[in-house]
Symmetry: C2
DNA sequence: TTGCAAAATTACACTAAGTGCAATACGTCG
DNA sequence: CGACGTATTGCACTTAGTGTAATTTTGCAA
């Protein structure tokens, strides 16, 4: 009863309203996932989810923009933001590619992703066309996040194109790493695959003794 | 009036049925695009498209799996297949990356993509969330096509991981090239941007004097 | 406590994509 | 012609998602 002095300007107190909101959000996500796992994604209607979560169908859309978002929220809890921060923490003494690589590596090493948790989502997503596609789109977001970080670290305009390439390669490596990780059923920690992918990347570029333009198609 | 002798057994004669089918398909795509351009994608209903194409709504789904497919058909007319073929035509004397690069380069150089044509589709696609996402997914297809070609050229199992990386980088380069091309309003031919992207790629890897693992996080 | 404003929740009605089904029209070929 | 398979259609139905307006809940201050 003594805290109402600072009212809305207090920064970290979240209040009852926000707590309820978070609870409801979580309940929807929880029940949604549960239903997806038992009945399958397509066979689960929003009506069913709403009922299981104890809300009306209309209210669902107050919390999620679409049915797909339930799974996306599970799969990718603001990873792009974290990624951006991880890259930004790197020193600019190294090359942009190394900065991206090490940021990615530290992130995956520090928060070892639980395979069993991931696998469940993975299975659901890969069984559905539009979900698979949405999943891919998330990598574009990640790429943008990495590029944003790199661009902040090396703001020179003439470097931007190169940084885009670096972001593309880094996130591409992450994607391939996750593919391998999934193919291996999560045998080894994700970070290992990331490291491998980057090593492979370095190897493949230097290789072939093709410094300038190889083949025909000269300019 | 004298050509109906050879009927169906002749390999390339397509007959009335097939011709009608192709015509209808084209008519739907044509009218669909026209309506999208005038009224906008979302505001154009399938009823409107069907009516404009002189078919029933139900018949539309006999030709296209979804509304989105109309635009996808315009944008990407079996490009993945062509890409795969172009890479396969390359010699295995060069490195996989160079093979992918040169295949891509020859393809974009030989069939110079008309910017004005592309731009129209581009604008429509980028104005719509789900279309943008579907567009991204097309790159995954392309990546698979390049990988398939490379994998056929270098079938050794221990190389597959590297080939995936190469496919990822190559198609990534293509994507960035198309982005630049769009950003530049198609000033220079697409092939130029592709070449630049690959050059950038080579440059960024060698750079930084970071041969092995830079930064901390080393093993 | 009361009252007010904003946020949350809901009901209702509506649009539009996409599917299943069964009937009908049409092209192909014997 | 006549039969077979493909194309076309109408109809009914499901479901995601939106607009709107009414209603309830919550935060806060007088």
């Amino acid at each position: 009863m003594a805290k109402q002095v600072m009212k809305s300007s207090s920064r970290k107190e979240e209040g009852l309203r926000e707590r309820k909101r978070r609870e409801t959000l979580h309940r929807i996500a929880e029940q949604g996932l549960k239903l997806f796992l038992t009945r399958g994604y397509d066979a689960t209607t929003l009506d069913a989810i709403a009922e299981a979560a104890g809300i009306s169908r209309r209210t669902f859309f107050y919390y999620f923009k679409s049915k797909e978002e339930i799974l996306l929220a599970w799969q990718d809890g603001g990873f792009s933001e974290t990624l951006r921060a991880a890259v930004l923490e790197q020193t600019t003494k190294q090359s942009p590619l190394d900065a991206a690589r090490n940021g990615l590596l530290e992130l995956t090493a520090r928060f070892p992703v639980d395979y069993k948790q991931t696998k469940v989502i993975e299975r659901l997503m890969s069984a559905n066309e539009s979900l698979r596609i949405r999943q891919q789109a998330k990598y574009v977001e990640k790429e943008a996040a990495v590029f944003a970080a790199l661009s902040q670290m090396w703001p020179q305009p003439h470097r931007q194109a190169a940084l885009r390439v670096v972001a593309m390669m880094s996130v591409g490596a992450l994607r391939l790493a996750m593919d391998s990780w999934n193919r291996d059923q999560g045998k080894r920690p994700l970070a290992v695959y990331v490291k491998e992918a980057f090593a492979c990347l370095n190897r493949e570029i230097g290789a072939g003794a093709s410094r300038k333009a190889a083949g025909r198609s000269g300019e």
